[in-house]
């Protein structure tokens, strides 16, 4: 598990600063003209249940490998300049940051597409699991849209 800002694919317990992460990515190239970010945060309601806290677990090494593959494919397939993907694990309170994807490109179109594809691909291929604590107890969440 890495927490150093210089790594563009990270799984970490600590919170991250969206501003610092964007500033870091802007240094990738002087050709960046558009940046799209996706920030996932902990929400209080899921399927009508009140959630008091979230816990994320991951499969070390495989999760980092999959995030690295997503980043490489996004750069190659969408023609963007760079991408970073950061996902938190462990205990997360409602409203806290969970996941951040930053797509940097020369123009906006490819960064919108790459960012949307990357979060969908993360949910599909990356071994990370969410456990919600509700008034009825703890529940491991199955795949969500």
């Amino acid at each position: 598990m890495s927490t150093a800002l210089e790594s563009k694919v990270r799984i970490q317990r600590e919170d991250f600063s969206v501003t610092d992460e964007i500033e870091f990515m802007k240094k990738s190239s002087r050709n960046i003209g558009g940046i799209t970010t996706f920030l996932g945060t902990g929400r209080e309601l899921n399927k009508g249940e009140n959630i008091s806290e979230l816990n994320f677990e991951h499969y070390p090494q495989m999760a980092e490998k999959k995030l690295g593959e997503i980043r490489e494919r996004a750069i190659k397939d969408f023609g963007i300049i760079d991408m970073s993907i950061i996902h938190r694990i462990g205990h997360i309170d409602i409203g806290e940051n969970i996941v951040l994807i930053i797509a940097c490109g020369e123009h906006r179109q490819e960064t919108f597409k790459a960012c949307e594809w990357a979060i969908a691909e993360l949910k599909r291929t990356t071994p990370i699991w969410k456990r919600e604590t509700t008034t009825k107890g703890e529940v491991w969440v199955q795949a969500t849209p």
Binding site: Y59, M62, K123, P127
Partner: protein, 83 residues
């Protein structure tokens, strides 16, 4: 010797993080599910019924995949990362 790791709700079902098994040459994941069943019956059945994904050395693979000594296998329930 191979290691089989369990995650999320599967870890709770198993009551442990992992198992280790001695296997013979040419053993497939489908055959390995019999060994898993001896350790955690419910998980062995879930493998056979394809209710969980299986990875070998960090890649998801089909049940007819042959495993070898030293491989790291994991039983993976549906992913729910993101938000």
């Amino acid at each position: 010797m191979i290691t089989v790791k369990y995650f999320a709700n599967l870890k709770q079902m198993a009551g442990k993080d992992e198992d280790q098994f001695d296997i013979s040459e040419g053993t497939t994941l489908e055959q390995l599910s019999d060994l898993i069943r001896q350790s955690v019956p419910q998980l062995g059945d879930m493998v056979r019924e394809k209710k969980v994904m299986i990875s070998v050395n960090y890649d998801v693979v089909p049940l007819d995949t042959v495993v070898k000594d030293g491989d790291e296998i994991a039983l993976l329930p549906p992913f729910s990362g993101g938000m």
